[in-house]
């Protein structure tokens, strides 16, 4: 069936099986291989993307529910002004080891900043990040990143610009200016 939806600010029309997983559509049909498959069961969070502004496991979203949706993947953040700040925080804290889980963590990090009134304490942060796993187990450093990001006002502003709208327009203008 023909399915039209928006990915990283661009409308896409694809011929897809209704049961195909969003993760496979991204990786196979759109060659956006930043989203990773760890478990395929919604437990590891490596495939986390933003669907209509909310983070979801792309391995658990079927194609037939996608028409009219807006998806943002890790690739879509490349030209977003906040990305450098997030990237910097992960590297400063030494939170990246093999890197496989990182696209998922970055999507969650961006998403957390608009989900709950900030600042979150460590207990709440742990709770909010429970849907992402790092098998190199560098959790304490990753949690430091999440705690730290909440204090960066310029980043919060960028997140608001990104997720205040979910139709991808912000990304398009970011791409143009970038």
């Amino acid at each position: 069936m023909k399915i039209t939806f928006n990915v990283n600010g661009k409308d896409r029309s694809l011929e897809l099986s209704p049961q195909k997983r969003l993760l496979d559509i991204l990786r196979e049909d759109l060659e956006l291989t930043g989203s990773k498959e760890g478990c395929g069961k919604g437990e590891c969070g490596s495939c986390t993307v933003l669907l209509n502004g909310k983070r979801v496991n792309s391995c658990l979203v079927p194609a037939f529910q996608l028409p009219g949706s807006a998806v943002i993947t890790i690739e879509g953040l490349q030209n977003w002004p906040g990305f450098q700040l997030v990237e910097q925080a992960f590297t400063e804290h030494g939170a990246v080891q093999c890197g496989f889980c990182m696209p998922g963590y970055v999507m969650s990090a961006v998403s957390v900043l608009q989900e709950t009134p900030l600042p979150l304490d460590l207990k709440e942060v742990k709770f909010r990040v429970a849907g992402n796993m790092c098998r190199c187990t560098g959790y304490s450093k990753i949690l430091e990143v999440f705690m730290d990001l909440q204090n960066r006002k310029d980043l919060l502003k960028a997140v608001h610009q990104l997720l205040g709208k979910t139709d991808g327009n912000t990304l398009i203008s970011a791409e143009k200016s970038g």
Binding site: G45, R55, G131
Partner: protein, 292 residues
């Protein structure tokens, strides 16, 4: 061959679609459970989205006596809702312990019920809240109203035959005077774990007297049933350490857990009793029961 799939926009579209369909349909709300059951997912012959049905996805409607929640409202919307937080904190507590934020952004109460797992995290809470399930398609404009035990019959088994679906969940507000509540899920970790066992308690304590109590344990029997005999033992009695110990014994006897990969039957009996003791002892010690 490609199977047919539908995205009905509202209840009218859904019901008229179903009038034209004779084969069994597979409903998808958030998809978080069905897509990982590979056999069920792959063998689907016709997909119908419930997420796209606006009334089911968007409804959180309060009246004086309760709240009507669309069966396809994402759990994160329920968790965030100010009215639900105030009136039904026990439900918020249960929803927050399901999966992760990524899951909560897609998963739904309707899905948790229709999936019919004895370990379904919201089911004991819906049971003590005395939820009514509104079942479609509508006949002469009316939903059929059913209670949880009449819908969830056993592991993976519901009474929803002939493409019937859960449209709404109605939750009456418990009488607020003297109310206490308790929910605890026991699992290997706080999030992302299938529960070994859970216990929901809702009750009314006036002074030392337990006016009424509703108790429901999850993952301890094929069906989600309230512990009627334990409730009976406690109802309208002064709360004492002796009666709490008796209730512990009664609950262990009353539930029928199995041993499986997550826990042994003995462990489940013991913990169910211990959680009940924890919730009631807290009342004697004047702590609020959910401050654990």
């Amino acid at each position: 061959m490609e199977i047919p799939s539908y995205l009905p926009k509202n209840l009218d579209e859904l019901d008229s679609l179903l009038r034209g369909v004779t084969s069994p349909v597979t409903y998808v709300a958030g998809g978080t459970d069905i897509m990982i059951h590979e056999q069920r997912w792959k063998s689907a012959r016709c997909l119908v989205s419930l997420e796209s049905v606006s009334e089911m996805h968007d409804t959180l409607r309060f009246d004086e006596a309760g709240v009507l929640i669309g069966a396809a409202v994402p759990l994160s919307d329920i968790i965030r809702d100010e009215g639900v937080r105030q009136q039904l904190p026990i439900l918020v507590d249960a929803c927050r312990q399901i999966g992760s934020v990524q899951i909560q952004n897609r998963a739904t109460l309707g899905g948790n019920i229709a999936n019919a797992s004895p370990a379904g995290d919201t089911l004991p809470v819906l049971s003590v809240l005395d939820a009514s399930l509104w079942i479609g398609p509508r006949e002469r404009g009316e939903f059929q109203k059913m209670k949880l035990p009449d819908v969830m019959l056993g592991p993976g088994l519901t009474s929803l035959k002939n493409n019937r679906y859960i449209a709404y969940i109605y939750l009456p507000f418990p009488e607020p005077d003297n109310l206490f509540w308790y929910f605890r899920k026991v699992g290997p970790r706080y999030s992302m774990a299938i529960s070994k066992l859970s216990l929901a308690v809702l009750g009314w304590l006036e002074g030392k007297r337990l006016l009424d109590i509703r108790i429901c344990a999850g993952s301890v029997s094929p069906q989600i049933k309230r512990a009627g005999r334990t409730e009976e033992l406690l109802r309208n009695r002064p709360l004492s350490r002796e009666i709490i110990e008796k209730a512990d014994g009664q609950l262990r006897e009353e539930i029928a857990p199995i041993s499986d990969i997550r826990s042994s039957s003995d462990y489940r009996r013991q913990i169910a009793g211990s959680l009940l003791m924890e919730s009631l002892t807290a009342l004697i010690e004047k702590k609020s029961a959910h401050e654990f």
